[in-house]
Symmetry: C2
Subunit: 373 residues, 2 copies
Amino acid sequence: MGNNVKRLAILGSTGSIGRQTLDVARAFPDRLEVVALAAGNNAALLAEQASEFNPKFVSLTNGDFPSGVARLSIDEIAAHPDVDLVVVATAGKAGLSPTLAAIRAGKNVALANKEVLVMAGQIVMAKATKHGVEIYPVDSEHSAIWQCLVGEDRKSIRQIILTASGGPFRSLSPEELSKVIASDALKHPTWQMGRKVTIDSATLMNKGMEVIEAHWLFDVPVDRIKVLIHPESVIHSMVEYDDGSVKAQLGYPDMRLPIQYALSYPKRWYNEALPCIDFDQLKSFNFDRPDMANFPCLRLSIEAIEKGGTYPAVLSAADEVAVGLFLDGKIGLMDIPRLVEKALGAHRSMDNPTLEQILAADGWAREYIVSVV
Amino acid sequence: MGNNVKRLAILGSTGSIGRQTLDVARAFPDRLEVVALAAGNNAALLAEQASEFNPKFVSLTNGDFPSGVARLSIDEIAAHPDVDLVVVATAGKAGLSPTLAAIRAGKNVALANKEVLVMAGQIVMAKATKHGVEIYPVDSEHSAIWQCLVGEDRKSIRQIILTASGGPFRSLSPEELSKVIASDALKHPTWQMGRKVTIDSATLMNKGMEVIEAHWLFDVPVDRIKVLIHPESVIHSMVEYDDGSVKAQLGYPDMRLPIQYALSYPKRWYNEALPCIDFDQLKSFNFDRPDMANFPCLRLSIEAIEKGGTYPAVLSAADEVAVGLFLDGKIGLMDIPRLVEKALGAHRSMDNPTLEQILAADGWAREYIVSVV
C-alpha cells in the first residue's frame, strides 16, 4: 500500500458511529486501511466486520471472539505502531483510557466520544499539546466549527454559535415533558443516532456536553459559546470573528460527512453516497433561543464546566446512569436533570483533578444516583 | 510609519464604496494610510476627503481641483510605487484601465467595480496571474465566497451558491414590473448602494454580472454557479465542496465588512462600527429559486458569458446606457432587458478579444442602444 493510505484503528466499531466509519472506509479502499477494530460486547457483528475488512488486530472487551485475528486490549490497539489515526467511537467513559493511550503514542485522534472531553478535557488537551497530536472532532457541530476555522486565526474568534435541533420535545410543556417515555424520546426528528445520545438530545444534555467539548477543542471560554435552536439541523454550527463576519457549515444531517472529513482532512473526498443539499428544495431555516427553564441540562452543563474540577465528570456519569434508568422505564425524562442536579449539589469537587480523581468522581456519581433513586 | 501599514490608493473615492472605504481607513489610522484618492466629477467632496486624509496624490477626471495636492492621472495613481493596494471603486468601464495599470505594476487590487471583470475578465485574470498579483473581491457575495475558500483547496469546489435578495420587485407580475419608475427601483429592501447597482439589483442584472465575476475570480465554470434567492441578505453566498459540505458566510448587509476584509486580509480586525448579527433576534432565513421569466437579465448574463468573446462587454455597456435611460424616465424597467437582448442579438462577437476590441464592442453597444431607443 502507498504512503497516502491512512491506517485506522476504530474503537467502538459495532456502534452507530463505528459502523458509519466503516461505511466511509468501504468507499475509499485505496485511501483508508482498517488495521484494528475494537468492540465492547457485540461479538457477532465484530466477527462480520473482521471478515470484511481483515484487520490485523481486534479487541472485544466482553465475550469470546470466534475468529483467528490477533486479540489485543483496546489500549494496545490505540497505541499500536501500525496505526496512523485512532477513531474513538466508544460510548461513555470507555473512550478515555484508549484516547490517552493514542495521544501518548503520538497518534492523532478522531474523537466521537463526548464523555472523553467532558470528563477530562483539561488533561486530554494538555497531553495532546505535549505530544504534538491533533484531536479531530467527529461530532457534526464540532466538525462544522473546525471546518469554519480552516485557514482562520483562532485568536480572531469572537464567539462560537453551536446549533441545536432542540430535540423532539422542543414545544412540550413541563407537564407533557414529565410524561415522556423512552419510545417517544428515541424518535429524533432529524438525526439517526445511538440510544444514549438520542435521549441526551431530547433533554439538551447532549448540547450542554457539546458546549464543554467546544470549550476544550477550540480553547474558547464557555461564555463565548452560544447555543442556538435551529430545528432543520442543516446549519451544523457557526463561528463569529472579530470583524463581525460569521462562517457557517451546512449539510443534511448525516454523520458520515463529519466522519469522512476527520479521515480526509485536510483534503475533501468526493463520495457519491454522501447527501448534498438540494438548493432547489430549500425553503427556510428557523432559529430560536433554547428554553433554559424546560431543559435544565443545558444550564447544568454550563454550570459544571464553569465550576470546573470534577463537576463535569459527575455531570457526565450521573447523566449516563440516569439515562439508563429512563431507558429501562424506571424514571421519567425530567428526573434526568433532577438527578444530575442533585449529584452536582452533593458532590465535593477537586481543582485540577488527576485522572484517578476524575475516575473516582465518576464512580461516586454512579453510586450516588443509584442510591437516591 | 511601520512596515505593517498598508498604503492605499482609492479610485472612485467620492462614490458609495469609496466613501465607505474611507470609513474603514478612518477606523484604522495605524494600519491603513490613504496615499492617493481619485474621483470622477465630485471636486468638492474630493477636496474635503483630501483635507481629512492628506493623500500624496489626487486625480480628478473632470473639473478643477482647488487644493495644492499633486495631481496625477488615475492610471498613474494605480501604478505609483508608493501604493501597496489599489481599491478600484469606480463605476462602469472607468475602472478597467487603472485596474490593468495596477496589475502591470505588480499591485494587489481590491475590486469593487463589477464591469472590469464582466468586460475583460479573461484579460484581467491572465495578467494578474502573469504579474503574480491577487484580485481581492469587495462585493459582499464574492467576499463571502473568498472567505469560505480560505484554507480550502479550490480544486474541491463542487459549486458556488450565489445568494440574491431578489430585489424590491421579486413578487411583482410582468404587468406591474412594466410600470415601475426610477424612484420605486431606487428603494432597495436590504442594501444601501449607488444608483446604477440599485437598478441592476432590481432587474437581477447585478446578479447576472456577479455570476460572470465569480466565474473569473474563482475559475469555476458558469454551470457550477447557482443563484439562490435569499430575501434577508444575511447569507452572502456559499460554497459546496466535493464531499457535500457547504460553507456559508453571513453578516448583516453592510458593505464596510467586505471592504474591510479586502484591506485586512488575511487578518480580521475588530471594528466596533461594524454590525454583528444579533442571534437572539434571528428568526428565519428564506430561500427561493430566481424567476428567470420575469427577470431575463440573469439569463442574458449567463448566455453572454457562455458565448464569451465580446458578448459580456456588450451586455455590460448596453445595460449601463439602458439603466441611464431608465433613471432619466425615458424607458421602462422591462425595457432594460429588452434593449440588452436586442444589442446582444445584433452584435457580432470576436473570440479571445484584445482590450481594444473589447472597448470597441463597448462603444458599439452604447451607440446601438441610443440608436434604437
